[in-house]
């Protein structure tokens, strides 16, 4: 049974999508219809060319030695194909940063609570019993605020020390970071002969904190202390 032109068009589309041979009915219609016959000629020509083209060997290349050398030069093969150690380090640094932040906030909250006046429920006609005034409350308000500032400053220094240590470790592993080494852009011979360059540490520069969470907490506490002071 012969096809209509519309069926022929639809069938040819299906043939291309499914990568299969056309039906005999389509071939028959193409032989009878000049317009579809021209399209059939185009289709047949291109399919023949594609078959020939696919049978040709692709471009050959042997970059095995070069690629293996690049892997060994940049990372060491075992490291290169293992988990991303920079990512692991970042996770560890993030965990410790969060832990230090939480600890600092807890310490500050405990201090504030300890110094705050306490409301004790008692009977209406009961007179408050004389209590010993805590020594910390005897100090001037300015002194208390100053103490909090010193404590937070010390804690911040400890956190910066931790961040510095993490930065040094990350620097030791910097060979995994293409932007730091630039090694991946090297050709094979260059990669084989060029040592991996590590960025020189800047000793006088304080490492920037990896997260703004601690800074936010410290700023908040300073603002609170400042408000109480005012």
């Amino acid at each position: 049974m012969s096809m209509t032109c519309e069926q022929f068009q639809e069938h040819l589309g299906e043939v291309l999508d499914a990568r299969r041979a056309p039906d005999d009915a389509a071939r028959q219609h193409a032989a009878e219809c000049p317009a579809c016959g021209s399209q059939w000629d185009d289709y047949s020509l291109l399919e023949a060319a594609i078959r020939d083209w696919r049978s040709r060997p692709g471009p050959t290349v042997d970059l095995t030695d070069r690629i293996v050398a690049a892997l060994q030069t940049s990372d060491g093969t075992a490291r290169a194909i293992g988990p991303d150690r920079n990512q692991t380090l970042r996770r560890q640094a993030g965990f410790w940063s969060a832990l230090v932040t939480v600890s600092l906030v807890l310490i500050a909250v405990v201090m504030v609570m300890r110094d705050a006046p306490r409301n004790v429920a008692r009977a209406p006609d009961e007179k408050p019993a004389p209590q010993a005034v805590p020594e910390s409350l005897l100090a001037p308000r300015e002194q208390q605020v100053a103490d909090i500032r010193v404590l937070l400053s010390d804690a911040g220094s400890a956190w910066y020390g931790l961040a510095r240590q993490a930065a040094v470790q990350a620097e030791d592993l910097s060979v995994f970071v293409p932007d730091l080494t630039g090694g991946f852009g090297l050709s094979g011979s260059e990669a084989a002969t060029s040592p991996v360059k590590k960025p020189a540490p800047e000793k006088d520069e304080e490492p920037a904190p990896a997260s703004g969470r601690l800074k936010q907490a410290i700023d908040f506490l300073f603002e609170t202390a400042g408000a109480q002071d005012a």
């Binding site: 990568r19 020509l45 060319a49 020939d52 040709r56 095995t64 892997l71 093969t77």
Partner: protein, 205 residues
């Protein structure tokens, strides 16, 4: 026998034909022989795509090296439930696009024709027919837009599905179909211009 050749022989002996998954798992353990076998298995696939996208042999070789370094670094990101080749080709296509941006110009048709012609000369000793359809198609392909050419190669040579090509090239399936349709139309047009259609029609009749 040189040391390199000896090592190659040893590698072939130590790592018999394995599935992609087995080979990748071996690579993930740091097995250097497996890494070598992996590179040998897939370098031609990656190089073929890079050469066609970049149109320049040296650029393609540099990019292939970048691709494999990146592949081994992110091997744990490959979804083991999916085929490996589209994932590899996606990384290769991304690196090629980066290289093209770095070069800030599209590959010159002349460069592509010259490099592909040199490839043909290296492998066409047995193909000295009057009309080499495959070669004519290769020449016509070199004149297509880069995305048409890449989609055509991935569909008809690497036999990826529309969906896989869409993932590799970062575009919807409908766009892939459109590119393939236009690629076919332009290829036929170029073959016609070379006078191939008449000869083939004659040959088929």
């Amino acid at each position: 026998m040189t040391l390199a050749a000896e090592f190659r022989f040893k590698a072939a002996a130590d790592v018999p034909v394995q599935s992609d998954l087995e080979l990748v798992e071996l690579c993930a353990t740091g097995n250097a022989v497996a890494v070598r076998a992996f590179v040998e298995r897939y370098q031609s696939l990656v190089f073929s795509l890079c050469l066609r996208m970049l149109g320049h042999r040296e650029d393609a070789e540099d990019t292939v090296q970048e691709v494999f370094v990146r592949v081994f670094r992110h091997l744990d990101r490959w979804d083991r439930a999916r085929p490996l080749r589209p994932w590899l080709l996606t990384i290769a296509a991304n690196r090629c696009r980066t290289a093209l941006e770095r070069r800030s110009r599209l590959p010159s048709q002349n460069e592509l024709a010259v490099d592909l012609a040199s490839e043909r000369r290296a492998h066409s000793a047995h193909q000295q027919q009057e009309v080499d359809l495959g070669e004519e198609l290769e020449l016509a392909l070199a004149e297509l837009r880069e995305e048409y050419r890449t989609a055509f190669v991935l569909y008809f040579r690497e036999e990826l599905s529309y969906q896989e090509i869409g993932e590799v090239l970062g575009c919807p399936q409908g766009t892939v179909k459109t590119w393939l349709h236009r690629a076919r139309a332009q290829l036929v047009e170029r073959l016609r211009e070379r006078g191939i259609v008449y000869e083939i029609s004659e040959a088929q009749s």
